[in-house]
Amino acid sequence: MRVLPKSLSGRLLATAAMTTVVALVLAAFAIGHVLEHFVMNGLDERLDAQIAIVSRAVGADGTLDVSKAIDLPPFDQPGSGWAWEVIGPVSRLRSVSLEGVDLALPRGRGRQFDRDDDGDSRTHERPRRLEGRDAQGRVIHYRFVALSTLRGDAIVLAGGPRAIVDRPLRAAMLPLLASVFLLAGFLALALVVQLRIGLRPLSALRQRVADVRAGRIRHIHVEEPTELLPLVDELNALIDANERALTRARGHVANLAHGLKTPLATLKLDLAQRKGDIDGTLKAQVERMEGQIRHHLGRARAAEAGGAVMRLSLIPRINDLSAALTRIYADRPIEQQLDVDARVEAYCDPQDLDEILGNLLDNAWQHARAMVRIRARIAGRMVDISIDDDGPGLSSDRIVDLNMRRRLDEQATGNGFGIAIVRELAELHGGMLALGRSDLGGLSAVLSLPGRVG
């Protein structure tokens, strides 16, 4: 069974609450105890004063002098619970309040009046405590002292109702508890504030990590708190290691492509020149291999996509791709209309963005009759890039077919493959692709990617 909660704030809250409650309970008990002690001392002093007065009635020979035993109020009031008694070796004296009846002392405690071992001197004898009940059953608090006389010990007892101690204690308990609860409330409030402030760097760090993942920043820069700095260093090292691994993986994929494509190209040329492949089966097999390589390289590229996400200005990349397309389609004078704000930026991996825009633009140039139009609009946190051509376009069925969310691995190698790669890459970067009919007459491809106006 878990003792501590799973969350950090939960743990801090639980441990702090536990210790605070224990501390408060201890404090309440301590204060209560001190208070009781204080009030009890007051009662003791009063009883001790009476004992001191009455003690004067005890003669050195053990006789009791009635005239010296003065009854001060409230010891002269019967039924008040206040009473005193002197038990001499030969006779007894009682307070008026007792009305001639002996004090109801606890029974079976014959040794209760025994002296302390060190209490043999009369002057140093200090009164001791005793609890009992009076005839009415009230709890009475007694003080007594044993005085040595020539004929033996004389016991001087004085008692008062315990209730007069309990009453102020009960009265003090309410404000005491109230202030303890108030203190607990303040401590809890302080705890919550402390947790909020103390844990704020954690949520800030989480936001930074999210920024890194989304490509808004590349590394995490935090100057405080010092406890988090080693973690931030480790995170940055992890980000770097991740980027290096990605670069390596891309290198491996490129090597694989090169390694397979060159012999395949040779094979293809050989087959085209030799007469051995009469029915074209070998050529078909080579083309199948070629399709497989293209397909799986596309898959690999999509699977490793989204690595080094960064903020990319659209215009320079579109211009680079257009310059390439102008040469690729050098014999086709195509006018390219560019309606893109120079400040528009997309969050994407640079190679992935080139791949997405390159495929879409290539498609547009390939099918356009005379014009390709590129527009970019910011829509909230996304940038919508529409690429239109004035070519023959696609049938509605084909557009629906291409817009269906078919995954790359379900897609046959072939015609829609480029579109499938673009869609998968766009979705990996939190975007989407929608195909439709353009007002120019041809195909309209609308690509949405996370972006902003820089």
């Binding site: 060159t262 040779t266 293809k268 085209a272 680079d320 050098a330 014999d331 080139d354 390159g358 495929n359």
Partner: protein
């Protein structure tokens, strides 16, 4: 038309060279970046086919050096790197076209012919001069609307003159574009080829410019 082929894979280079020669191209092959770079910087070629991943020197740096050195020959990059970022890098380095392996040989030949034609300043694929017409896309010559049968050497000379019609093509320039780098060139053989061509297309079409070279012209 003389092609510089820089490709390190011997089997592929051999297959490409064979295919191009079958289409009457003269082909020089370099199997590393250093030799290829040197050939492209010093010899005359109509077009270069350049692989990117080459031993000794990377194809992109070879290309960039040619451009810095003022070499304007059209260059087709032939590579397995099919990403658009790679294509952009290739074109930025000065490439004129980009073909991804594996490819169809017809595609390569068509693109090379188009590159040579455009480099000579012809926008349309059919070039004509009097009764003579040259389809730069197919490489076919026609005279008076009928197909003209030519040997590889004849085709190289006539296509070089046709692409620069009405201009004088220097003898040395013509020789460079007709013979492969390691061929034994007999200086008289060019006159022999010109003589045979004159018989096929009509003597008046090919002028001899004394001390300079030859000019293909349909007359003033």
């Amino acid at each position: 038309m003389r092609v510089l082929l820089v490709e390190d894979d011997a089997a592929l280079a051999d297959a490409i060279a064979r295919a191009l020669r079958a289409e009457a191209f003269a082909v020089d092959v370099a199997d590393n970046g250093e030799d290829g770079g040197h050939l492209g910087a010093t010899e005359i070629y109509d077009v270069a086919v350049l692989d990117l991943g080459l031993p000794k020197r990377d194809g992109l740096s070879v290309l960039a050096d040619w451009r810095i050195g003022g070499r304007t020959l059209p260059v087709l990059i032939l590579t397995a790197r099919d990403g658009w970022s790679d294509k952009v890098l290739g074109f930025k380095a000065g490439a004129d076209d980009y073909l991804v392996k594996p490819f169809r040989v017809e595609e390569l030949v068509m693109r090379l012919r188009a590159l040579v034609r455009r480099a000579a300043g012809h926008a349309a694929s059919v070039i004509s001069c009097g009764p003579l017409a040259f389809d730069a896309a197919t490489g076919q010559f026609q005279i008076d609307g009928l197909p003209l049968k030519l040997t590889a050497f004849e085709w190289r000379v006539l296509s070089a003159l046709m692409l620069r019609k009405d201009a004088v093509v220097e003898r040395l320039d013509l020789l460079e574009r007709v013979y492969e780098g390691d061929a034994d060139v007999d200086s008289n053989s060019l006159e022999v080829i010109i003589g045979r061509l004159r018989r096929k297309v009509g003597a008046s079409l090919i002028e001899t410019v004394r001390g300079l070279g030859y000019r293909l012209t349909a007359g003033a």
